[in-house]
Structures are given as C-alpha cells and as structure tokens.
Symmetry: C2
Subunit: 320 residues, 2 copies
C-alpha cells in the first residue's frame, strides 16, 4: 500500500473519521465495525487480548481480482516464454506451446498433470533470491489483459481500508492463500502492508546449496504444501500456531478456513466477498471455474457468516 494512503487512512481512523470510506452503509460494514468494537472494548464480555486478534485473508478474489485467470498464472505464462530460449522443444510440446500463447483452453487438453508440471517448471530452476527479483520486476510492468491496469492496481480498495482498520485496532493481519507464498511476498508488504512473515501460502520445495562458497536456496518449482481447502487450517496452525478470530475469503476453497475460524470459543467473524458486479469487476459464484462459491453461499448465512455483496456494498472497487 502506498505509504501516504496508509498514513491518511490511519490518521482518519485515529481522529474518528469513517474507517471504511469505500464501504456503503449496510449489513457488512455494520457487522465488521460492531465486531471490532466489541472485541477491542476493554471490560466487554467479548474483549479479546491483542495477541489473539488474528485476522486471516485469502488473496485471489478476496484482496484482488482473479478473472479471467489467477494473476499468478499470467506470471507463469510469461516466465515460460522467457525460459523458452533454453527449452526450444517447448514450442512443439503441449501444454507449453499453448500456455506460451496464452491459450489456456488448449493447454488444458494436455491434462491437469501436465499443466501442473508446466506451472512448476515456470516457478523453478532459480534461486529464491532470483525468483523474488523476477516476480517484483514482472509486477512492476505486466498489465491485465482486460483492464490494462497493473495487477497490483487491481486490489480492492475496501479491503485495503479493512486491513488498515484492523491493524489500527491491534489486529495482526495475515494472508492465507492457495497462491505461491513467495509470489505473494513479492508485493504484500508494499501493496497490503503485510510483511513476509505474515504470508501463508502454497509452499515450494527449497534446497540449501553452497556454490563456490556462496550459499543459496534453490527452487525446484515442486509444491510441497498446498494451502487450499482443508489445507488452509493446517497452514494457519503451522505458520501462526493460533486460531484466528476473523477470516475473509471468497470461494469454497476458503470454506474450511472460515469454518475453523468460527468454531472457536468467544466472538468470531467470517466474511465472504461475493462477486456480484459485472460492471465494475466480475460476476460469478456457483458455476465459476475460478473462485467457485457454492457451498459457502448456501451454508454461509446459516452459519452467520457475513456475505459481502460487492455491487451494493462497495462504493469503490479499485484504488484510484
């Protein structure tokens, strides 16, 4: 997040301005503010000590857009193109050839296994340090095919405000994403104000090697832990070691995280970002390939989870 924006939000919060200016008055905004006031009010029956104010956020579709493809997939395809000089055979091999053309449909015909293998290839073969540099460089220039914006400009302004509001109230904010942990770390601090140690994600294999006296961590690209679905509560326990009291997601891949968060003792909050705005963003839920939200939409309300209607509840989608 740009420092100035963060500072403006923080000053606003401290001086009693509306902490969530891009949220319209409505059920979600009210539920969030009621919850935060309740758990931070000293002496209240619902008071939660600062060290237990843990809030977890899914990333794709929750903090930034995810259509027509997870943004990391665009990065992967661009990486394959850049790596192709060392792999002339890819031009003739599926799914590589189609992925390099950006034709995901055709690539999919090679089968899930092979697509996964290609994605792993796109994320391997470098040191962790180089990978971080590549991801940062890509994020600085790559544009979204439909909006023409930088991907990091397609973060949700209302969620940036929410992150800031929670931190101003003593919460520690974490990302818990199915995306690659190191890809997210390449922008989370700057864009979300979330430091590397508060990013939980899918973890790639790393190997410690010393070459000519210089140690490095080498990436094979292979995933050793998938932080999705039932993996999310596992990732939370593994990295954070505490059960969150607040969780936000947008798809059924977040179901277990929201369930786990809301099953603990004391006050609990779960929010689902429902993509209902085909004008300003995208409209999808039960039948979507990306970010499918079916069980959560059915069971969420019964479980007293807050369904956030993007179209009616957010006055702005992206930062200006």
């Amino acid at each position: 997040m740009k420092l100035l924006l963060m500072y403006t939000l923080l000053v606003g919060i401290l001086f009693g301005a509306d902490p969530l200016p891009s949220w319209n008055d409505g059920p979600s905004k009210k539920a969030i503010i009621d919850f935060v006031e309740k758990v931070t009010k000293d002496g209240s029956a619902d008071f939660v000590k600062a060290e237990n104010r843990v809030a977890v956020f899914d990333n794709d579709g929750t903090l930034w857009s995810e259509q027509p493809l997870y943004f990391q997939a665009f990065f992967a395809m661009d990486r394959l193109k850049a790596m192709a000089t060392d792999h002339p055979e890819w031009k003739e091999t599926e799914p590589y050839a189609s992925l390099m053309k950006g034709d995901v449909k055709a690539a999919a015909e090679a089968g899930k296994e092979k697509v996964l293998k290609a994605l792993m290839d796109s994320h391997g073969g470098t040191s962790q340090e180089e990978f971080d540099k590549l991801a940062r460089e890509w994020l600085k220039t790559a544009k979204h095919p439909k909006t023409g914006k930088l991907f990091t400009e397609m973060v949700f302004q209302p969620m940036l405000e929410l992150l800031e509001y929670l931190r101003a109230n003593g919460f520690k904010t974490y990302i818990v994403s199915g995306g690659g942990i190191e890809f997210i770390r390449a922008f989370a601090q700057e864009v979300y104000g979330i430091p590397p140690e508060q990013v939980v994600g899918t973890v790639g294999d790393l190997k410690y090697e010393v070459k000519d006296g210089k140690p490095m961590l080498v990436r094979s690209g292979k995933a050793v832990f998938i932080d999705d679905g039932p993996g999310k509560p596992v990732g939370i326990q593994r990295f954070i070691g505490k059960r969150p009291i607040m969780a936000f997601g947008n798809s059924d891949g977040d179901f277990q995280m929201l369930e786990w968060t809301t099953s603990g003792e004391g006050p609990r909050f779960a929010g689902i970002v429902h993509h209902t705005d085909e004008e300003r963003e995208w409209k999808y839920d039960r039948d979507s390939h990306i970010g499918k939200l079916d069980r959560g939409l059915t069971e969420g309300p019964q479980r007293k989870w807050t369904i956030i209607d993007m179209k009616t509840e957010w006055s702005r989608i992206y930062p200006e």
Copy 2:
C-alpha cells in the same frame, strides 16, 4: 519468561543498566553489544531498519540444556508410558519396552528407523489441541533426572537476557529448532517471551477433520519437515521470508543457519554457545552424541563467528 523478570530487565535496559547482567565482561558480551549498537544507531553506515532486525535462536543447547537427552525425548518416553494402556503389545516390543523404561541405549539397538517410528507414535494420535494440553501439563510437573529441576527452569539466564535486550532494540526474536514446533510453542511464550508465530521447528503432519460438526486438526505424529542442518535456512525462508542478521546455535546442526545468516550483505552476527562447564552444566563438543560441535568449532573463528565460552563468560547459568 516470568512477567516480572521481563519487566525488570526491560526497565534496566531503558534506564541504561547493564542489559546483560549474567554475562561477564569479555569478548562475547562486547561483540554482542557492539553489534546491536551499530545496527540500531540511526545514521550509522551499519544501521539496519527495524523490520530487518531478525534474530534466530536454536533451542536445545542454545536456550536451554539438552543433556543427557533432548528434553523432548523425556516427554516422548512419558507419553509412550501413558499410551501403553491402549498398546499392551508395547511391553513386549522393542524399542517401546526399553523407551518406557528410559533405557535409551537398549532402545537404540532396535535401529534408528524403529526408534523414530516410536517417537512419532508418542507424538501422534491426538488432536493438536489435546497435544498442546498434554505438553503444557507435562512441562508443569516433569523433572530433570539429574538436577531435579523443571525442564523449563533449565533455560539459560544469559540467553533470556539476550532475547530481552534484542527485543528492546527493535529485533524480532525467533526460535529455529530441530525440535517439534508444537512442543516448543507450549512454553516459548511464557518462558522466552516468544509467541507461537515466531517458532520455527520440525513440523508434524496435520489433517483437518470435522467430527460431529466439530472441526479439529489431527496429528499423525509423522514429521513432514525436518528443521535441522540444511533444513534450517529452508525453514527460515519458509516461515520468515527474510534472511536474519543475527543467529545463535550450539551444534553442527546449526552450521548452515549461521552460514546463511552471515552470508548476506551488511552487518552480520553469528554466535555459538560452547558447553565448557562440567560443574554448573555439561562439557561436550566434538565427540558428543547430543549437540555435537565439530565443524563449527573449527571453522567458526575463521568465519568471525563468536564462540561463547559458557564457563568463563556466563556468571550464571539458570535463573534462580
């Protein structure tokens, strides 16, 4: 760490008292203080921003004693005894029978594989929540066979002071241990002032299960990541996502962590706790089964690592 002790140390530090009262004046104390003053002095060429002041500590033999056996092994043996009612066959089966008698030598004859399997059994078969309770209860009552102290009373007073001193200077302190992450989390906050999210360790398999509507994380006992030797830099990258500027260990299992820490740009510090005091603690290094320190003792000085001589440099070993 007891709150009062922490508070006393903190007040002492703020008011310019000796921040490391249990360290004798000598090379190690001087090196530590020089380093901390250098990296925290605004405008100094060696200044390091607070967000990069990451210090990592091995646990066994670095923050607490580890002889005649890693303390977690005593816990494992006590767990096996408690579980034996459900496993009558263990009385007749090695290494279980010997482990339950505390006869590690005899148990070892069953071979490394089988001993590992038994240790895993001792740490599995419960939910994570139950395991945490079991570990906390055990730590409250179990006594060390030689000193008769609680294991948590066998932490090193000079290291408690060092942790507090670093935190007072804007460092984030982490444990990076080969021991089980959840076993350490059961006492790290109270004893070391280190919260669960700053503990990196060997990670056990967890499975998310919903039983009668109640979600839980179930432990199989199987280790999925070994945080030792070359695994330590991997664990650091995975959990913290930053290279530390300061690292402390005591054995060759810490070599790569110290090497990784000291290979980055800018000011770097590595310290090795050398067990030289057979009177007040134990004396061991190159030939020890537990906490073997050979390569580190040879190469450490050439690499400008600080070797801490427990016998001459620490005026106190344990808290009173």
